[in-house]
Symmetry: C2
Subunit: 402 residues, 2 copies
């Protein structure tokens, strides 16, 4: 960990200033435990003193450090290094896919492989940030509803911080997610229903028992951890950006987070480009609330009735941050695309057999989505296209043939 | 990737000079495909021009780069950057375990977590090095016998390099290893028997079909990839070293490799300490050929009849590098210790529930081994003790209760 006592690292460990409701812009105190805006039922967004950070923090200094996600502590919410709870998350590889790219007709196909995180998924980033900050503010019991990987990640960081954790998950969540949560010491409650029902139960327990609810966007800091993917992408591309980012979208924290990181980097003068990526939300056809909203030019999502997909992380009938997701897509001139179960499975096999990457079904969905966008002429062969693989395929083994 | 054109990075991409039989010291040409010494049936060891590297390569320059294992290309066998086949291996975290340490009576307990590698294990390092170098020398078909994680790693790197791969593994290898290998495009042959039988079949195929056999230590470069763990450990500890390293020992590549890295760093003047770690081979009681040899002060291992342990990577009745393993233990004033199946399972639960680390049974064995060494008074409370976790617990889910 870098001591915040040099000019290049900044004069403060964190430049966090305040929280704001994403809907009514009411300001909330970040030095207290916060959830979401009670008036708007909308997420709170973290703001930093980027002008001061621009003057004091050197992106190239950070680039010459090790330490994963926490190299970027200046733009993360934790106030003091001793409250960082880490398992080594972040600094995942950004890989070129030359052989698969050639097969699919793209000359610059890239993947960011988030399976190389603790607990095998990108959920580690968000929960490292949220659990660290909650711990710093005195929380000792946390609860989460999850459709997949978030439970295992929360359980791991809670244990690492000596906190108690409770997880509500649908009974048909992959067995790996259940077992990894239990071995990490979490109390796991399996429920009949989807993540939306799990969320209701978690919220009730939070109110009645005083547990802190770290549901997606119902606290402000998971998105802050996830946004670091955006910093790492820019850094790996010499402070330029892809033309298109395809992101598998359930709760949407990463999609919104990466876009936020781009705005922050621009405000600090860190980018060497003014060309920003078009952000694409990829969903399963069986659970595509964002696709429907984009297709119908709506500013919010309807609850997707009868949600069904084997990509468990995409089985989110309505994100709490639906408006932020749609705003990101709109601002970035992006789009949303739904893919079939068969296309996901085929893409998973292609990534593994052609490039050696055994990705999660959610990650595979981005390749399937790219093929559809290519057919539509929405993306061209020489654009720099980045697929975001959110996790390891190892957690979905029961879905593969013996 | 760093261009090798600056003084700090060195004037050569690799300083590899020659290969030597570890037994008779006969020299072999590294610019041709090599296997092992046909006279001694012993592994070949890679040597580098460390005097030249000492003059030209700056350890601190390397430390300010990103790029995982290949930051250390000067002391790796690949001759040209375009032949590096990578999935982002290396740069795994070295974590303090303050809470578990306190429970166990150690003030400086550390773990290096190799589960954050592509394919979820340390095998990625060895096979990235071996497959890259084989590819550079024109190989297009590779074969391996494996007791667990090596198959999935080989399959992934072979696919990434556009090569064909064949894997012989015991029928009772964890299903994750079988599935990850198959999805990566490998031809998997399940056999009745142990890795020793699988090795025989792989060797026969190699001879008859001309496939290149990347069995542990039957080619010289897997150990080179694995040794980078040693470089990373020293780097993370400001160029000092732990007092004790506990290493789960099946084939022993990493144990031997880390010790080799320490000698190389010393020769290049990179270390700030003259105090080297005592290297401990941890094995399962049910397959403990190294423990038996150490206990009986033998210079080689006997074949361990009836090998049986649920830590599949430790189910190696006799390593091809048994003499190098025993030599490492002797030179380092180390030892070997066998642990029970129950102790492995208990340690796995403790690491997960106390520190959030869901480690492989092989990695958990090191914690079980530490407790025995503490009871024996072999290690003291204030020593810097490093556990080496070789892989993710996610590949062994069928061994956990529902």
């Amino acid at each position: 960990m870098i001591a915040p006592n040099t000019k290049a690292a900044g004069s403060q460990f964190s430049y966090l200033t305040h929280l704001e409701c994403s809907s009514c812009q009411t300001v909330f105190d970040p030095q207290r435990i916060q959830t979401y805006c009670p008036d708007c039922q909308a997420p709170l967004v973290a703001y930093y003193d980027l002008e001061k950070a621009r003057a004091e923090v050197d992106r190239d200094y950070i680039s010459h450090q090790h330490g994963g996600m926490w190299r970027w502590h200046a733009v993360l919410p934790v106030q003091s290094p001793e409250h960082v709870i880490t398992l080594g998350e972040g600094d995942t590889p950004l890989l070129h896919l030359p052989r698969l790219g050639a097969q699919k007709g793209f000359s610059n196909l890239l993947i960011k492989d988030e399976s190389l995180n603790p607990t095998g998924s990108f959920k580690a980033r968000g929960l490292a940030a949220a659990i660290s900050r909650a711990h710093e503010l005195g929380v000792d019991k946390v609860v989460i509803p999850t459709a997949g990987n978030a439970g295992g990640a929360m359980a791991a960081y809670a244990s690492r911080g000596g906190m108690q954790s409770y997880i509500f998950m649908p009974r048909d969540t992959p067995v790996a997610n259940i077992k990894e949560s239990r071995i990490a010491g979490a109390t796991v409650i399996l429920i009949q229903g989807l993540i939306s029902e799990a969320a209701g139960m978690a919220g009730e327990k939070a109110r009645n028992e005083g547990w802190f609810d770290v549901s997606t966007f119902k606290e402000p800091y998971r998105a802050e951890g996830k946004k670091v993917m955006g910093y790492e992408i820019a850094e790996a591309m010499n402070w330029t950006l892809p033309d298109v980012i395809l992101y598998p979208t359930g709760g949407g924290t990463g999609l919104v987070g990466i876009w936020k990181a781009i705005q922050e980097m621009a405000a600090m003068g860190w980018l060497e480009t003014k060309s920003y990526p078009r952000m694409v939300a990829v969903q399963a056809e069986g659970c595509a609330p964002v696709v429907r909203a984009v297709d119908n030019n709506m500013p919010f999502c309807d609850f997707f009735v009868g949600a069904k997909t084997h990509a468990s992380g995409l089985r989110v009938p309505k994100s709490f941050a639906d408006q932020l997701i749609l705003q990101t897509i709109k601002e970035s001139n992006g789009t949303a695309v739904g893919v079939s179960e068969e296309a996901i499975t085929a893409a998973q096999l292609e990534l593994a057999s052609v490039e050696g990457l055994f990705v999660a079904p959610e990650g595979a969905a981005t390749l399937a989505g790219l093929e559809i966008l290519k057919q539509r002429g929405w993306v061209s062969a020489d654009e720099r296209v980045l697929l975001l693989n959110t996790g390891t395929g190892l957690k979905y083994l029961e879905q593969l043939p013996d």
